[in-house]
């Protein structure tokens, strides 16, 4: 099922939760809506589900107007951040709920319902919990039951609101992989909301980055990481070094000193220079675009993370760089730094 969202606007009082949002989701995609809290991602998800209504704009499923139908008629599976399992029902009855409330004409008989629930519980590998109540389950188990319950109605679209937000790190990681493999198994168009970039980049086929009710960028995980379209995306995804610079006459200046980097085609004026930590290459002193002194070094895994005080900048600017361990850095070392890759965005915060 393909989803198309056009010019969607939703205001809560004077706060614009969605500010003219356009989005197309292809059939069978696994899409992540990524953004900080208040960016409008959950509102967008709830409008697609029919749990909220936009002030204006269109939502269509395979070309059919979805806003003409209520949540119950859209055949959308929704998984809530806090699971929203029916607390007075067993796991089995929770999963069976969607099948039991169907109109009599299309409702399956008891044996078929039992078979279907069993199948779903097997799918989420929790068939042994069918007689328990939600309060007797762990967070990860509850989330999987919530997913099984949403899948029971054979939804055309699966929507997940911060599905792993309330879980601890280890369970999160397991469930992520599990969700990805589940998606490749059942192949239903899925959208999940997250504020965790790692989760979005790891699980989704495509990532939609949102901020302040607008979509900043839509792209594959490597797209949004390697080619951020805006300063916000660069700052939000991955660890970035951000330096305030001035662009004029084809030169980039930091604290009055011209940096040895290309400035072709840049807008003149106050700008920001974005560099990934690992894109900062350590050079001998006196060479490279920037100079600095190592203040602090922590070594873990394949990298050494160094805190460097940049010289020739008014006051003192501390940046953190990730360097490979082949050339050990020591506190007090004076080094040159050269950004292998960088982006300059006009304007300053």
């Amino acid at each position: 099922m393909a989803i198309e969202v056009k010019n969607l606007v939703k205001k809560f009082g004077t706060f614009a939760a969605l500010d003219h949002v356009d989005l197309r989701v292809g059939d069978g995609e696994l899409l992540a809506l990524l953004g900080p809290s208040g960016s409008g991602k959950t509102t967008l998800l709830r409008i697609i589900a029919g749990l909220d209504w936009p002030d204006s704009g269109e939502v269509s499923f395979d070309g059919h107007d979805a806003l003409a139908h209520g949540a119950g008629e859209r055949n959308v599976g929704f998984v809530f951040q806090h699971y929203a399992l029916f607390r007075h029902m067993t796991v089995f009855e929770n999963v069976a709920f969607g099948l039991r409330v169907q109109p009599r004409a299309v409702r399956k008989d008891e044996a078929a319902i039992r078979a279907r629930v069993k199948e779903l519980l097997d799918l989420v590998q929790l068939d042994w919990l069918s007689d328990r109540y939600p309060s007797q389950l762990s967070g990860g188990q509850r989330q999987r039951i919530a997913l099984a319950r949403a899948l029971a109605i054979e939804p055309r679209i699966l929507l997940l609101d911060e599905p792993f937000g309330a879980l601890d790190a280890k369970v999160r990681k397991e469930l992520r992989q599990w969700l990805r493999s589940l998606h490749s198994e059942i192949h239903v168009t899925s959208i999940f909301v997250t504020h965790d970039q790692e989760e979005a980049l790891e699980v989704a086929n495509r990532v939609v980055v949102m901020d302040k009710g607008r979509i900043e960028q839509v792209g594959t995980p490597s797209d949004v990481y390697d080619n951020p379209a805006t300063a916000f995306v660069h700052g939000f995804i991955g660890e970035s070094i951000v330096l305030p610079v001035d662009v004029s006459e084809g030169c980039v200046r930091l604290g009055g000193r011209t940096l040895n980097i290309a400035a072709d085609g840049l807008e003149t004026g106050a700008s920001r220079l974005f560099i990934r930590r690992h894109d900062m290459q350590v050079e001998p002193p006196g060479t490279g675009a920037l100079q600095g002194a190592v203040r602090h070094v922590r070594t873990f895994g394949p990298i050494q993370r160094a805190e460097v005080a940049l010289s020739a900048v008014q006051g003192e600017t501390l940046i953190e760089i990730d360097a490979p361990r082949d050339r050990p850095l020591k506190v007090g070392d004076v080094i040159g730094l050269h950004p292998r890759r960088f982006r300059i965005f006009a304007g300053q915060e």
């Binding site: 749990l51 119950g72 929704f78 809530f80 929203a84 607390r87 709920f97 409330v101 169907q102």
Partner: protein, 283 residues
């Protein structure tokens, strides 16, 4: 230097004993003693006299019947109204919500006598609707409908008040889940909302019933005190007492007191269930 006490939280022994003693004396004098007196008076002429007074007199039986009937009517009405009001207040946003919550509490803040008088003003012979009702042979005042109405009014807040905080705490996520799974509004209400608050409903009904059976002020105004017809148990207790029929009076009173005790026990059990129900709801 002061010497450090072993446990700085505990008060000196004498203070503790004093506080506990005060609480115990207070409870004995004001709560336990009256209860004992009621039963002592009721049984003062022996078991035979007690049962003759409580269950043998046609007047007493009529009062018991009327009280049960009144309670049944007002509790059922308040069950329906209370659940609907709590549902509306806790699950939906609308204009005038604060006003509605205030109105729900109104019967608590108005003297029951006033509540009764309101019905006299509405349905009495000189009231707004009185003449019309009389010409159509509909009798509200000094009859069961008036007593049931006044009782319903006075006991209205119990069910709604028991449910509103519970429903508000539970939020609307489970309802949203039900709706998105294709359930209709009614299915959602009966399969999700109501089962989630069933202990709260029972709790509200219990308190509502206790108050409905014990209501004196409002009922006294609208009842008319027709012996054997419009006297409820509390009214009969007063009448018998005023006529110096102490055994009969206290026999009926003891029935009400027993109702109170049963209510208390049931309330304790329900509260335990309510707590567990709420615990299991957390995420």
């Amino acid at each position: 230097m002061n010497s450090v006490r072993a446990d700085s939280r505990t008060e000196p022994r004498i203070v503790r004993i004093l506080i506990i003693a005060i609480a115990l004396i207070f409870l004995t004098v004001f709560v336990a003693l009256p209860l004992v007196v009621v039963f002592a008076q009721a049984f003062s002429k022996g078991l035979g006299a007690y049962f003759a007074a409580a269950l043998g007199e046609p007047e007493a039986l009529s009062a018991i019947r009327l009280t049960l009937l009144t309670a049944a009517i007002s509790v059922s009405l308040n069950l329906v109204f209370g659940v609907i009001a709590a549902w509306a207040v806790s699950k939906f946003e609308f204009r005038g919500k604060t006003l509605l919550i205030t109105l729900i509490d109104l019967p608590f803040s108005v003297s029951p006598v006033i509540s009764g008088l309101v019905y006299v003003l509405l349905f009495g012979a000189q009231g707004y609707w009185g003449p019309w009702l009389q010409s159509h042979n509909i009798y509200i005042l000094f009859a069961l409908p008036g007593i049931a109405l006044a009782t319903t009014f006075v006991t209205f807040p119990f069910v709604a008040r028991a449910l509103i905080p519970l429903m508000q705490e539970q939020g609307t996520q489970e309802e949203e889940a039900a709706i998105s799974l294709g359930a209709s509004g009614l299915q959602t209400f009966f399969r999700v909302t109501l089962p989630n608050v069933k202990w709260g409903v029972l709790y509200g009904v219990l308190l509502c019933n206790a108050r409905a059976m014990g209501e004196f002020g409002a009922v006294s105004v609208v009842s008319g005190h027709i012996r054997g017809e419009t006297n409820t148990m509390p009214l009969l207790v007063e009448i018998l007492y005023n006529e110096y029929q102490f055994v009969s009076s206290f026999a009926i009173a003891s029935l009400l007191a027993m109702l109170a005790l049963i209510t208390l026990i049931a309330k304790t059990i329900l509260e335990r269930n309510l707590d567990e129900g709420q615990l299991s709801g957390g995420d």
